[in-house]
């Protein structure tokens, strides 16, 4: 008979101060936030970093440039509607667009695992080529490293991007004002479900494609029309909720949204029902929110709906004063609840 063991209970807060990096640290939720606030921001302290926006807007020799970087580790590498290459280009292009900068140049660094199929690499590179052409950016510098077999997950891609800011607005959470409206550029969750559907054990017969797309054109149209954009944010990991919560916390305002106004396609909703997922927290790769003054709502809606990638733009809520730093949602029954940031990744559940 097995030896009877009894365990001394360790303080569970150790789980939080874990000396190991966990998946949750990259999940876009609370843990990642803590890593940023607890380690990265204090280490590299400067005003630009503290804007906590998707990219940094720099004044260099009289020109306003935007600079951003992102790494891509998505599994599976190839999914309906795109692949790691499509994401690597669009993701960085979109971060620049969210600063109100016209994306111009990208760098691309590959970390390849020994044994990674050359055919897969060709596919990824070809995707990047096509996507860069569509986004009208040029890949002008890069790097390639190879690590031993077993030390990398096939391929990791990092892209950094530079864009030019051709307007005088400050597009950042700090510009958000009470009374502003929140516009959402389209239906939620397609990317998150497309990815989850491809993972083991969660496959569906019908194909839901990722919404991965470049977002500069609709932003450019808003700028050209002189719309006073206060803030833009593309919705990636952590979904709509995380994007709104970050803005509400940084700008110290309350953001209030209405469940009935949030578009979710029926098949995405169906997948969410089965897996017990909340579409508000699912990743998107071709959706953004625009925060504009109330008086600009009608024009902004018209302009955004004119472009294919944002043709489903709707108003979903507004900026209020108190309690500051919170995002609240009015349910379809008329009751209100707080949208909290997830602790880690959203997991399928049975319960």
């Amino acid at each position: 008979m097995a030896e009877v063991k009894s365990f001394q209970l360790q303080c569970p807060t150790l789980l939080n101060d874990s000396e190991r990096v966990q998946l949750a640290h990259g999940g876009g939720g609370r843990r990642m936030h803590e890593l940023l606030e607890g380690l990265l921001l204090p280490s590299f302290k400067n005003d630009l970093l503290l804007e906590r926006h998707d990219g940094a807007t720099l004044n260099i020799a009289g020109a306003r440039l935007a600079f951003t970087t992102d790494s891509y580790v998505v599994k599976p590498l190839f999914f309906p509607g795109g692949d790691i290459g499509t994401l690597a280009v669009n993701g960085t292009v979109n971060d620049l667009a969210m600063c109100g900068a016209r994306p111009l140049y990208l760098s691309s660094a590959f970390i390849l695992e020994e044994g990674f199929p050359m055919e897969s690499l060709r596919r990824v590179v070809e995707s990047m080529r096509i996507t860069a052409a569509e986004a009208k950016v040029q890949l002008v510098t890069g790097d390639t490293k190879v690590v031993d077999k077993g030390k990398g997950d096939g391929i990791f891609v990092n892209t950094a991007g530079i864009g030019v800011v051709e307007h005088t607005l400050t597009i950042a959470p700090s510009s958000v004002r009470v009374g502003d409206v929140i516009l959402l550029s389209g239906d939620l969750g397609r990317h998150g479900i497309a990815i989850m559907a491809m993972r083991e054990g969660l496959s569906f017969e019908t194909t839901i494609e990722s919404d991965c797309a470049p977002l500069w054109e609709p932003v450019a149209a808003l700028l050209d029309a002189g719309i006073e954009i206060h803030c833009l944010r593309d919705l990636t990991r952590g979904g709509l909720s995380s994007g709104l919560i970050e803005i509400a916390e940084t700008a110290q305002v309350r953001i209030s949204i209405d469940e009935m106004l949030i578009p979710v396609r029926e098949d995405v909703a169906g997948a969410c029902e089965i897996l017990g997922l909340d579409p508000l927290y699912l990743a998107n790769e071709g959706r953004f929110i625009a925060i504009v003054p109330e008086h600009a709502t009608a024009s902004a809606l018209e302009i955004l709906n004119h472009h294919e990638v944002s043709s489903g733009t709707v108003r979903i809520g507004q900026v209020l004063e108190k309690p500051a730093g919170l995002v609240t949602m009015k349910s379809r029954l008329g009751t209100e609840r707080i949208l909290d940031m997830l602790s880690g990744e959203q997991l399928p559940r049975i319960c």
Binding site: F204, E205, D267, V268, E273, I274, I350
Partner: protein, 85 residues
């Protein structure tokens, strides 16, 4: 423990414990086991939990909730006091 969702049976294949169906949940289609609902057929709705259908939706009963609401509404109209706290 109760995440079970209704879906529509699009097609059926196999027999006994291996009887399976393609079930649509608002357009998303998944293979589901019909081992526990041998009476279920194409076109019917089943309640699915972790890949298994555990019940066939009774369409008449499903309407009952709304009939009750309708009756409640009619009662309220007949007697305006009935709806007040």
């Amino acid at each position: 423990m109760c995440l079970a969702v209704p879906g529509k049976i699009l097609s059926v294949h196999g027999e006994d414990f291996a009887r399976m169906a393609r079930v649509s949940f608002g357009g998303i289609v998944k293979e589901v086991s019909l081992a526990y609902v041998p009476e279920a057929n194409e076109g019917e709705y089943v309640i699915v939990h972790v890949g298994f259908a555990i019940s066939v939706v009774d369409e008449d009963e499903a309407l009952r909730t709304f009939e009750i609401l309708k009756q409640m509404g009619e009662l309220a109209e007949l007697d305006p006091q009935a709806g007040e706290a």
